[in-house]
């Protein structure tokens, strides 16, 4: 059952179907929020709030966009509010680096280079300006179209495109400077 069909049923009074809507989107939205807040507990709280808010405001959802897009925009706003509260408005901090150095010496050289490159790439993504990083992630990670990204971020399509282009340009320059090994 597609999201829009579920929403129609919920509007008819089948409230228990919201469960399915949660099921369909929980993974994507949690990953998206986790990339922003970088804390499991916080991400879970935000995702919960986002779903509750989505449920409460479901009557305002016009269906012009996908439910997922709409949900992402709610989650993004909540995540931003959360970060503002924490005064740590820094998107996409380095992904969990769990004790890599301990085992690195036992890895083949090729694997070590791959890990180093991965680290440099992650840092390069982190160093992008907030909006460029968000657009880049939504485009590359969630494979969203520019109009969907524009809706989530409440910007126009051209701004979304420009942000993506500049993100790629900055990444290339950053990676060239840092000398990613092939």
């Amino acid at each position: 059952m597609e999201d829009f069909e579920i929403i129609q049923e919920i509007r008819k009074g089948n409230l228990e179907l919201f469960d399915k809507l949660v099921d369909n989107n929980i993974e994507a939205v949690t990953y998206f929020v986790l990339r922003i807040v970088k804390n499991n507990e916080d991400a879970e709280d935000i995702v919960q709030d986002a779903f509750v808010k989505a449920y409460e405001k479901l009557h305002t959802f016009k269906g012009d966009s996908k439910f997922k897009t709409w949900l992402f925009s709610i989650a993004l706003n909540l995540a931003r509010q959360h970060l503002r509260k924490r005064k740590l408005f820094k998107f996409f901090a380095p992904w969990t680096k769990e004790a890599e150095s301990v085992t690195d010496k036992h890895l083949p050289e090729k694997e070590i280079i791959r890990k180093e490159n991965k680290k440099i790439l992650e840092e390069a993504i982190d160093e992008l300006p907030d909006q460029q990083r968000t657009v880049f992630m939504l485009r590359q990670n969630d494979k969203l179209k520019y109009d969907e990204i524009a809706q989530i971020l409440n910007i126009n399509i051209n701004t979304a495109k420009t942000n993506y282009f500049f993100a790629v340009r900055n990444l290339r320059r950053n990676l060239t400077e840092k000398g990613v090994k092939k």
Binding site: V22, I26, E27, V52, L121, A124, Q140, V168, R172
Partner: protein, 177 residues
């Protein structure tokens, strides 16, 4: 021959329209190199992000935890109008009860029980029989006045205000608080 801008190339890659610049790229090594680098950048980051996304798997426990919290919050449990009414009444009643108990506690120290009253009356009666100075008082009137100011169960010290100072001192001196 004018080189392509970086943004033009990125847009062409994004739209999968590099073929439009095929001739130019054959002739311009600088632009061809830039295309290669940009493609590499996009590919590498795509791989990293894909790997991260693949590694991210919301396990059943966490998935259920969030789901239960979402579904267990307000969404299916919105109170009906009648429930809201009952809640309001209950809430109002709680405040009234709280106020009653606070008032009771505040005045508790000042109240005299029936038992204490009886003892007081008894003491006054004995005093009346034994005291030679008691003639200046009409004890029955004093006690009646005092008792008359009692409520059914409790007497409050404030009630003594209605008596004269002389009678009040007499009664208080005979009460064992």
């Amino acid at each position: 021959m004018k080189c392509l801008s970086e943004i033009e190339i990125i847009e062409a890659i994004d739209k999968n329209e590099l073929n439009n610049y095929k001739e130019h790229l054959k002739q311009c090594k600088k632009c061809a190199q830039l295309v290669k680098e940009l493609k590499n950048t996009i590919k590498s980051t795509e791989e990293i992000l894909h790997e991260q996304k693949t590694n991210f798997k919301l396990n059943e426990f966490r998935r259920n935890k969030i789901k239960n919290r979402v579904l267990g919050s307000t969404i299916y449990k919105k109170p009906s109008k009648s429930q809201k009414g009952y809640q309001a009444i209950f809430s109002y009643a709680s405040y009234v009860l709280l106020f009653f108990f606070i008032t009771l506690t505040l005045f508790q120290n000042n109240r005299i029980t029936d038992m204490e009253l009886e003892i007081a009356q008894y003491k006054i009666e004995i005093e009346k029989d034994n005291s030679s100075t008691a003639e200046s008082f009409d004890y029955e009137i004093v006690v009646d006045e005092f008792v008359g100011n009692f409520s059914d169960e409790y007497a409050y010290m404030d009630d003594l205000d209605d008596l004269s100072e002389e009678k009040t001192i007499y009664i208080l001196s005979n009460l064992d608080f």
